[in-house]
Amino acid sequence: MAAQANGPVIRAEHLTKRFDGETAVDDVSFEIPRGAIFGYIGPSGSGKTTTIRMLTGVYRATSGSVSVLGAEPGEFGRAVREQIGYMPQDFVLYPDLTVWENLQFSASVYGMGFRRSRRIHELLEFVELEEHRSKQAKNISGGMQRRLSLAASLLHRPELVFLDEPTAGIDPVLRRKFWDRFRELQAEGTTLFITTQYVGETVFCDLVGVMAEDGRLVALDTPDALRRRAFGGEMVVINLVEAVEPRLLRELRGMDFVTGRVRREGETGVHMVVDDAATAIPLVLEWGRASGLQIDSAEEYNPPFDDVFVELMNRSNGERSGGES
């Protein structure tokens, strides 16, 4: 049974998985709309792979409910399985087979007919392995093996693809190419569920779930909204010609448009959290003129997602310890 055209492709409600009393995934709920790229980020051991395994039917959830493409993973029929592509975290294809033979094998696993060569060539071009197609998988690099796994998971044109850390161990240039490819797939209507440890890759996603080390989903939103949530608003950075005096920081904290913290950066810089950067910047400039300050620049600042992630984690830990105390 296929998912309803307008409904979410994946719906997870209070999903929990425990192994021998240890909680790997703790009460996770989310919905992923059709055609979205869902980034699932979190440190190693935070339950990303376990979540994927519950969504693909490899693991049975200890509690909670899941619906993928309109079906419960334990009840997946052939039709649903044929719509799912899966790239596990480890290389699980066959080292003694060539790149081409591995793709032939994967095509057969999905019951693709004999007119599959063209599709395999397409995928080899897509992952830039065409010239390595005759090499045995054991004789290609780890990065190439990951690309081969990716190609194998996409061969049968799945509607929904689970990619478990597809960019792990891959150089930044190639990682960027991967994300370009994921965007292309998205444009073709594919929904992608991607786990990653590279927080910076979050920016390429439509929706991001942030997992904490203890298996909780601490945030679920668009990248911009997450950034906003992490810092309590948008960030503006101003650079003065002279050194920043403590008095100025106190004044800024009292302004209406400032909604979060105000912090000195170096001798002449100030970072501040505002409700809306576009509204706040003219007001900052106005305040500077009124105060007789020479402002060299005032602009919106997008902190790197590493910072966003750290901030979210700190907040989560703070909330948790506050809750516990």
Binding site: T56, V58, Y59, R78, Y86, Y94, S108, V109, Y110, G111
Partner: protein, 436 residues
């Protein structure tokens, strides 16, 4: 809705994959096919169906009346006893035995004839230092053969003496017979003439008996009956040819079991099973694909081995090729089922290999390869009949050397057992493929 063609394609994934992986290892194939053939060839060329020669020293006292005859007795046993000399010093002989210079010491009893007259059994004592139970048994048989030979020689000599004495008596009996006839004539009409005639008749009978005794050779008197063995089978096999079916069976069983045992456990260890769990591949499609792949590989190896033993070693196949093929197919099927079972209960590849080796070892001892099944206790034979090799060796010997399948039930049981195991394999694999 299920699409049968897609099922075939999915199973085909494993046929191609498994065959390619094996074919990509030419050394493995060479070892599989050429190895056993060369071993069999070497065994055939090098095996001598002869008992081992044992250098034997005889300990005989100086005044023993048979001292001069012991070497004759020893030589009569053929090449299995090499006469190492006669000595009266038992300690020296035992010392040589312990140092491994000689293989056997025979203590000849003193005063053998006196003891026989005294209604005793003079005893030959054989001393050896064998540790191999088979060789120990052989020394026992050798001792019996030696004593039989000595007894025969003694009996022949007694028979010869008796014949000689009879010949010495013959003239005297002739004279007595003539005298009795003459007495009968001289007593003509008197009643005593009848008694003289009876005496003459008795003496004539005695003379005929002596004549008959002299005509029979002493060895015929001692050993009147001998045996002659005739084989009505259509073939006369050398020992190495006789082992051909067993070797083919053991090799194919071991190959099939090992391949199958490593197959699924490798998929599990490598993580590929996780991929299959998510894919539309079912456990039955996966298992079927693997069966087909290894049946093809095993069939190819079986065909090459058959050609090699038939044209290389001259092993006959008197039965039909169809029966021969059916036996090999049933063997491969049952062995693969056993191998998949091993694969499904093993956690590591090492464990799978160990279980496969255990099965091979069990087959070597209990399948009728080394010893005939009748030599095993009935409760041990239960183990034998759990092994695919036991059925296949019996069946292949029938097809190759007797020309027919005289026990088709064995074929049905072999294939049926394989089918039962295949169902168990499928259930286990389905359980392994289900959600964790």
């Amino acid at each position: 809705m299920m699409n049968p063609w897609r099922s075939v394609v999915r199973s085909g994934a494993f046929v191609g994959k498994e065959v390619t992986e094996v074919v990509r290892q030419p050394r493995l194939l060479l070892v599989l096919v050429l190895g056993p053939f060369l071993i069999l060839l070497l065994f055939g060329l090098g095996y001598r169906d002869e008992a081992r020669s044992r250098e034997t020293v005889f300990v005989v006292s100086q005044d023993n009346p048979v001292r001069d005859q012991v070497s004759e007795f020893a030589e009569s046993l053929g090449p299995q006893v090499v006469f190492g000399g006669v000595t009266a010093d038992m300690d020296a002989a035992l010392s040589r035995l312990e140092q491994g210079e000689i293989d056997l010491v025979v203590e000849v009893p003193d005063d053998p004839y006196e003891r026989v007259r005294a209604d005793e059994h003079p005893t030959f004592v054989l001393m050896h230092r064998e540790i191999n139970p088979v060789q120990t048994g052989f020394v026992g048989r050798l001792g019996r053969a030696y004593v039989d030979e000595v007894n025969r020689e003694v009996q022949e000599r007694i028979a010869e003496d008796t014949q000689q004495r009879s010949r010495d008596l013959e003239d005297e009996v002739k004279s007595a017979h003539a005298l009795a006839l003459s007495l009968e004539r001289s007593l003509a009409a008197r009643p005593e003439a009848l008694r003289a005639g009876e005496l003459a008749d008795e003496l004539e009978l005695m003379q005929r008996g002596i004549d008959e005794l002299s005509l029979v050779k002493p060895e015929v008197i001692v050993r009147p009956f001998v045996t002659e063995v005739r084989n009505v089978s259509e073939v006369s096999l050398t020992l190495s040819t006789y082992f051909v079916p067993s070797v083919i069976v053991l090799l194919l069983q071991h190959m099939a079991v090992t391949f199958a045992a490593l197959s699924i456990v490798r998929d599990r260890r490598q993580g590929s099973v996780e991929l299959f769990r998510v894919s539309p591949m079912t456990s039955s499609e996966m298992l079927f694909g693997k069966y087909v792949a290894y049946m093809i590989l095993g069939g190819a190896v079986g065909a090459v081995l058959t050609v090699a033993v038939v044209y290389g070693l001259g092993a006959p196949i008197l039965g039909s090729w169809l029966n021969y093929t059916l036996v090999l197919a049933a063997l491969l099927f049952a062995s693969l089922s056993a191998g998949f079972l091993i694969s499904l209960v093993s956690n590591t590849e090492t464990q799978a290999v160990q279980y496969s080796m255990l099965l091979l070892l069990t087959s070597v001892f209990f399948s009728g390869f080394l010893v005939i099944l009748d030599a095993l206790a009935p409760y041990v034979r239960v183990v034998s009949w759990l092994l695919p090799a036991t059925y296949a060796i019996e069946l292949l010997r029938e097809v190759m050397f007797r020309g027919a399948l005289f026990e088709p039930r064995l074929l049905y049981v072999l294939a049926g057992g394989g089918a039962v195991l295949a169902v168990v394999d499928w259930l286990l694999l389905r359980s392994r493929m289900s959600r964790l």
